[in-house]
């Protein structure tokens, strides 16, 4: 558990992400996958989304950087999300610019079949940065930040696919941090990893918290209790309970949350 000084009532903290009564549908509004969720994610803290499969936690995560735009029939049915005070679904917001500030790490680690160096530099290259020395510097910084530098510094030109699963996932995190986003969204980043690799990624997330605001979806309640400051429990597209992680895990106010955390359902 993270130090409790920052995890007071998170609703009063200066929040970076405001989600206000958000409704979301995958089928043009016929049925809602997310049904009126409101929560705030404080800056430079880790917010965990937990809940049984199909509860809408990954969908909500993908709303935060508008990855759901790629699903043709998706639609925000009500409410809003604002990041740094800006409504991200406003007509003058470019999803491309948004995603440069709100990065994402996926469930299945997905490095490109390129060299380790090129993977980390990818985000910078597509932003048009060509200068070799600034790329080198950014790659080194990102890899150091992802605690991967010492393991790969001698094989930067080798294929990223030669790394172990845990290393590949940390490489993906480095790829995301290299473009210096404000927010990093993580969609079950450890679900394809073994316990040792998971421990390393969790350690990394705790480190990254100094520089980034992190929202993480996880199936593992132990993981949520270990790494997050705030935890939101979702069930069937609704937010059941949201609060400081200590409180959610030690003294939840809703019976359903307690049942889920203690393993009685889900």
């Amino acid at each position: 558990m993270v130090n409790s000084s920052t995890s007071q009532d998170s609703h009063t903290d200066p929040a970076l992400i405001h989600i206000n009564d958000l409704g979301f549908s995958y089928n043009q509004g016929k049925t809602e996958t997310i049904k009126g969720v409101s929560l705030n994610c404080p800056e430079k803290q880790v917010t965990a989304f937990i809940g049984p499969s199909g509860c809408g936690k990954s969908t909500l995560l993908r709303c935060i950087n508008r990855m759901n735009d790629l699903v043709e029939t998706s639609k925000i049915t009500r409410g809003s999300i604002s990041i740094m005070g800006q409504d991200i679904n406003a007509p003058d917001v470019d999803a491309i610019e948004l995603r440069k500030q709100v990065g994402m790490v996926f469930q299945k680690y997905n490095p490109f079949p390129k060299s380790i160096y090129e993977n980390v530099a990818y985000g910078l290259r597509i932003q048009g940065i060509k200068n070799k020395s600034s790329l080198d510097e950014a790659v080194e910084r990102a890899l150091k930040g992802a605690a991967l530098w010492d393991e790969v510094k001698d094989r930067l030109k080798e294929s990223a696919l030669g790394l172990s699963g845990g290393q590949q996932q940390r490489l993906c995190i480095a790829r995301t941090t290299a473009v210096r986003p404000k927010v990093i969204l993580m969609d079950e980043p450890c679900s394809a990893l073994d316990p040792i690799a998971t421990a390393k990624v969790e350690e990394l997330i705790t480190d990254l918290r100094r520089d980034f605001t992190i929202v993480i979806v996880t199936h593992s309640m132990q993981q949520a209790s270990r790494i997050s400051d705030n935890t939101a429990f979702f069930y069937l597209g609704e937010l059941v309970e949201y609060g400081a992680t200590d409180k959610i895990f030690s003294n939840p106010s809703v019976q359903q949350t307690e049942d889920y955390i203690s393993g009685r359902f889900g």
Binding site: R99, F106, P113
Partner: protein, 382 residues
Amino acid sequence: MSESINPSAAQSDNPFKQKKGWLQRKEKIGINLLRLATYIIIACALFIFSDIFIKGMPTLVTSEVPYINTEFFTESPQILTVWHDSAGNEYSMTQEKYDIWLTENPTIEVTDIHNYTASGGGILGPLLGTALLVTICMAIALFIGVSAAIYLSEYCGTGKLMSLIRLAILNLAGVPSIVYALFGWGVFCYMAPNYVTEISDRSLFAFSIGGGYISFEGWEQSLLAGGCTLAIMVLPVIITACEESLRAVPKGFREAAFALGATRWQTIRTAVLPYALPGVLTASVLGITRVAGETAPIMLTAAASDKSKLPTAVLADEGFWSFLTQSVQALPFHIYTLAKFPDSEYVKPMQYGSILVFLLVVMGFSLLSMVLRSRIRKRIKW
């Protein structure tokens, strides 16, 4: 206590003894039928290949160094003249050599002269023509096909209209080649815009530009018309195959690129196309095999059965536009021309030689695509 539903079997010498009955016989008959069908196919293929190989090989090779019939590969088809002299000796030479022979031997009386079209000389013209047609066709088809495939797989959605378009493209692949041939004949040979100094009677529409006219009177039977017709014919195959290889690129690559703030085109260019390229390549090699073998479209839109000047010589002498709008010889059409003399022993070497070369070229491309595909399968692990 009730009786066991699975009583212990009565002891016999072999409890698993093979039974003989209708079921067992049916099994055997079935297997042998399937085996027979397979053997028939293999026998057909073996017969065709060995017949062509045995009869065609003597045309391609010689008994002396360099062991390859250079004349066959460095000369274009010419008229073969066969004649007898008064002593009853038989001669067979190309018409040109016959004329020379005549001037050299003015005293010998010549009887029984026969001419055979395109049966002397070599196949350089048709080979070059086919290569050029395929090149032009693939350049056009790959550009349009890959672009369309990218649009279909990456940009447009999955609505009803789009499924209809996909279905239409798939159906186009099944249209007989003679239909494409006639279409290309009508459109490219008689309607396409051409730059001319004098407007022809059949011009649909013309306007003057510079010193000449742009006239919609077509390119006649030409390299360009043939290439375009073949390109349209092979487009459905290329679009479908490219779309498939684009879809085979893992979704994770696209998501990762988008999540890093890449635009759609950046994502396609850097995270999709490079990984779909091997598939596109295989598809285009298969397309080449198909296009190279087509006869009907080439006959109607591009072919000259007899042509003395090589296409490359036209390029050197008359410039690029004349090069594109010249008619060319092509290997399949050359073979078709030769097929008019089914039983002539004088034509046979040319027939079998041409067919063998054609077969080897097409088989070479098929083999290339197979090798490419297996190498891709080995390399890709995501």
